[in-house]
Subunit: 259 residues, 2 copies
DNA sequence: GCATTTCGTCTCGCTCAGCGATACGCGCCG
DNA sequence: CGGCGCGTATCGCTGAGCGAGACGAAATGC
């Protein structure tokens, strides 16, 4: 149990580690990354990247396209094998759907992964707010509604870890004072809902509720997000809470076997 | 219940190939696969699987759990980097959402991958039909509404290939006569909608419409599915077509640069 | 109860897959 | 024209990866 300073320190000395490093070097929004750019991002030797990229293409994890390489459909399929995310998603969709239909605002489902949240689903209509969140994307725990909902309903050790760690300031409204944050978390635990007022992104507000597992720890959280102007997060407290509770009891009925 | 020998003969002589083989050995619905089972499925040496699985865990592609291994959240994240699927998904969600709200039936979005379709999204409510389709899952082209819609709007070479190849019979209603299928495809091209009446799964019917790219080839297809009893696919022709057309023009406006 | 099988883990020499320095052809710039 | 960044190809060196096998623990059979 050594405290890993870099949780992200995968082995760069093994083929597999390098391959994964290359895959992870892709960012959500680049359409095609040239070889040279991959070399820069990974720090690997040019020949190595060349060879491995070719191997990845052969294994249908990458596509060779005009401007370089890009993650392929095969990778997408593979990702969908991830059982916790997948089964969660499948059970959750109807609830998210309901919630969207009642609110017509952007709905998120997220789980915790380290000190971040990972969005497992994001649904919204045409008129949806321009948010930086993306399915499969990450956000810090301390400055998002989902993150705070998760953080409030998790074991003390992790909460302590996050609170004492550096709290990145993402906007002028981000809570970076551990005391204030801790107070808010306590309140969230009591009320069962978390708010976020432009703490991760200027112009966006959220309400979130935790999805509790059998042991009263949060396994996920659901949020509704909208633009600061017209959007009143308080209005959706009941709906969000209902959706999260419904999903929670459904998951527990099915079998509390995940995570 | 042994699976047929793998038609996807990726390189088993390279580390990477083996690793990918192990990852692909997981089926959508197993929660945890023990080492021995992986050995059986992959045909690799026990020590090799042991070693590689450990390496995959170290690289956060697998999780070590009680009963063995399972694909992890890291893999999910990686999969979401797949740009064609992802950007398609992000643009499509609002349209799927609309369609669901109008029909309240299960809505699918699928793309072609080889002779199969891969579901990129599946949304539905609580009352949704028990369908075998899953996000990230596969189905043959010739026996699904989405598949036929795609097949009808693709280049002749591929269509020919599928038509002359073996057409697996999935249910008593599956079209396995190339002539009949070809006739139906022609009709689909003209009308712009494809029907499926219990051809892939008994008890399920579908309507699908192709999403056409700039070159008039289908880049994806959208479908609505429901149970044979109450569900009348004809009723949704207009809505499905509208959704597909809307998505198509949106994609083309944004930039016809994929696939 | 013991015998047997199945499973996960670990060890240990052999060897070939993977390595990276180096080089080459190309298009693009000033 | 010379320099630069790019993708690609070559080629010996070597250690990462290999798989036969051993071993203890646990399940299964008798």
């Amino acid at each position: 149990m050594t405290q890993a300073p870099r949780p992200e320190a995968a082995g760069l000395d093994t083929v597999l580690g390098k391959a994964v490093t290359i895959l992870r070097a892709f960012r959500p929004d680049d359409r095609a990354v040239p070889l040279a750019e991959l070399v820069r991002r990974t720090g690997l030797h040019k020949a190595t990247v060349h060879r491995l990229a070719a191997a990845l293409v052969a294994n249908r994890l990458l596509d060779r396209v005009d401007g370089g390489y890009r993650p392929s459909g095969g990778l997408f399929e593979l990702g969908m094998l991830a059982s916790p995310e997948r089964s969660l998603l499948e059970v959750a969709v109807p609830f998210l759907q309901d919630l969207y239909e009642r609110t017509h605002e952007t709905v998120h489902l997220g789980v915790r992964e380290g000190h971040d949240i990972v969005y497992v689903a994001k649904i919204g209509g045409h008129r949806q707010v321009r948010a930086p969140s993306r399915t499969g994307g990450r956000m810090p725990l301390h400055c998002t509604a989902i993150g705070k909902a998760l953080l409030a309903h998790t074991d003390d050790a992790l909460r302590q870890e996050v609170l004492t760690g550096p709290l990145e300031r993402r906007t002028p409204h981000t809570l970076v004072a551990p005391g204030a944050l801790r107070r808010q978390l306590r309140e969230i635990t009591e009320t069962g809902v978390a708010f976020e007022r432009e703490e991760s992104t200027v112009g966006i507000q959220c309400v979130a509720a935790p999805v509790l597992g059998g042991d009263n720890a949060a396994v996920a959280a659901i949020s509704v997000a909208g633009p600061t102007g017209r959007f009143r997060p308080e209005r959706y407290v009941t709906q969000v809470r209902a959706a999260a509770a419904g999903l929670g009891s459904m998951l527990n009925r099915r079998g509390p076997r995940d995570r």
